[in-house]
Subunit: 230 residues, 4 copies
């Protein structure tokens, strides 16, 4: 669809973390932005997040977005090729942040230290998911069909899987099949956060995190599941 490409999120995998609102954000033309231009683009990205969150990808109208951003249609198309392009930019922000988070997953040990480290990480995941969840949801929606989003999503998923597999390998006896188990854990963590964020189930973040940590440990080390601090 667009003929000019934005900086790839993969680049952001590097340790040097770019400023959140600029990372992966692109313009319709790749031109350099002055101060004012940056503000406008940030407003649009932010408005996009809100509107996609509220209405989902398909139902979101450019008109909604520019209204929230208090700017005009013309301006929108100065910064983005179209709705998809804006979404792409947001998705890349998410992807970048997720990649980075995945790589901070601590080694999982069977003791209370391991559980604590896991809980810290799960809290960070939860915070990130809360921040970007709407985009992720819309992502799933946009994914259907043909667009290139799928790959982005799969990429992030794969990265999570890869890191979890490593941890599973480090932790578990050699007779278990780490890839599937890793995926199962990733799936659980993602989806529970989704249920909670979307309000389909009502649980405190602490309870959720504790349980997820416990299930994860139990899965790897056979520690009987006990919900702590609930």
């Amino acid at each position: 669809m667009h003929s000019r490409s934005r900086p790839k999120p993969a680049a952001a995998l590097s340790p040097a973390f770019p400023e959140p609102t600029d990372a992966g954000s692109g313009s319709a033309s790749g031109r350099e932005l002055r101060e004012r231009g940056k503000r406008t683009m940030a407003k649009l990205l932010d408005a996009g997040t809100q509107v996609f969150a509220k209405r989902g990808y398909h139902a979101a109208r450019v008109d909604d977005i520019v209204k929230v951003a208090k700017t005009s249609h013309g301006t929108f198309y100065l910064y983005f090729l179209n709705k998809e392009d804006l979404f792409q930019a947001l998705a890349e922000q998410v992807a970048t942040a997720m990649y980075d988070l995945a790589n901070t997953l601590p080694p999982v040990t069977p003791d209370e230290d391991g559980a604590a480290a896991l809980r810290v990480w799960l809290n960070k995941f939860s915070d990130l998911y809360r921040q970007y969840g709407p985009i992720i949801r819309a992502w799933t929606e946009a994914e259907i069909g043909d667009s290139g989003f799928g790959r982005l999503g799969t990429g992030v998923l794969t990265e999570f899987g890869r890191v979890f597999v490593e941890r599973v390998r480090q932790a578990a006896p050699p007779n278990i099949e780490p890839t599937v188990a890793a995926m199962a854990l990733v799936a659980m963590i993602e989806r529970v956060n989704y249920y909670v964020l979307s309000g389909q189930v009502h649980v405190e973040q602490d309870a959720m995190v504790n349980t997820l940590a416990a299930v994860t440990q139990a899965s790897l080390f056979g520690t009987p599941l006990r919900s702590q601090n609930v």
Copy 2:
């Protein structure tokens, strides 16, 4: 919007089962359908499944559906109030089947019998998910916003949760918090099936089922995770 309501096909699927989600359905005449009418409606439902699967809820056009069903726009509106109504009908089919399946979840025991029973059930879940997955995915999409779908989805989720909680209670020592753990297991099972079905990860159904059963047991009884038959 005309007021005529659509015959409720979902109801027929499980005569004994109370129609829990019927409230929101704004459809469907009680008029009896002749043989031909039944065939046409079946064609439309089937076409709807295909098209929603391929394009998602929003991107699906009535035009696509009637083309696949080899019928006309006029006919479509003879059987359904609108696109949402058709989707509702399909969603109700899914919900009914899911409710029924949830209620066949066997007691979970720590022994190999328990694992085997779990695997049988997970296979049934997987089959059902494969059959209806596209609708479920589109469901998530339609859910965003305001429609009544959310309730339907939440209802099914709740039912699964309820049943799992019962089993977790039966199985686990009294000091664990069953509701959150149950939800985590449901989330894991659903999402892994989704990943696999949507082709985002490539795993054989057997491997998936075995792992899910193992993780479930491990979570409840501390059985160290072992992937069997992989």
Copy 3:
């Protein structure tokens, strides 16, 4: 631009002349039209002729066309892919008619019989030009840029040139260069009609035809130019 193709005008070169309003006319989908559909399409083609005539290709809005045709936007796009597609259909009508006319050019002889035959033919040309002139003008406009119209126009021009060359060859001594002379005559005839039709010069059709016939004969046979019946 469009993925489905309309019947080629070249086909219409065959002696069997198709009904004027159906020739070259195409639909967005190639589907067969019922009586009503044919009427609607005719209305749109007619409205297109009027609007393109009045405003030119670029300035013509689909909205104008459907207003003149007393129909709706939706209907327009039922019959044509877009504005260009409608124009194409009209242009093909013109091209077909022009091809056919070109092939009826009589042999040019130096006597009064030759002049009379030429006048008859020029009158037919003039009538055709009056009928289709607006489209031809818009054609020139649409031609600029990249579209395939150019070829169509060039094709018609070439056909006229070819036929005139034949006649010039028949008529003129062997020492003259027929192709350029033929083109010059074609250019003159076309452009004079254009000037007159567009109201840039005010001359009666008779005077115009007589003069064109006289110049043509004079060019070929050296008959001194005399304007008759003026």
Copy 4:
């Protein structure tokens, strides 16, 4: 619309020549331009010529023009009221040059001297047409509708007609109708140049000029058409 009017560049082209088409020009401050300003204006006029040539009047975007001129939107509107104003300025250049050329048309005599003089003039016409042809083409396009361009075009045409009529009168026996014949010759000369310039027919300039001269002479004096020097 601001009322400041643009400096009239056309006037400068022929100080002695009365500005006949100035009436419709709604432009341009009498403010004097410094060296830099003159350069900028020249860049814009030049860019305008290129872009109108390539895309035609309607399809030409101000954005294209300023890009080619390597300047900004703001600057464009410093020099011209709007797109039409720039076009007007260019058209006036053309009109002025054409007027001047028309008035150098030599008397047409039946001998070889007359033919030679005609060929010299036709070559000048051709050169001018090549230089300004794109504008003339766009002119025709802009003409459609309501703008004042038509008058400008008609004015030039009328001037050519007037001059040709004089020559025809000088040359021809009193029994011919000079106005129509003159127009026919003008039409021919213009249109042949157009065909050649637009690449619709492929002829060397020499062949074209020779033929046009021959047809012109033949029309006036009955000299049989012979293409010379081909």
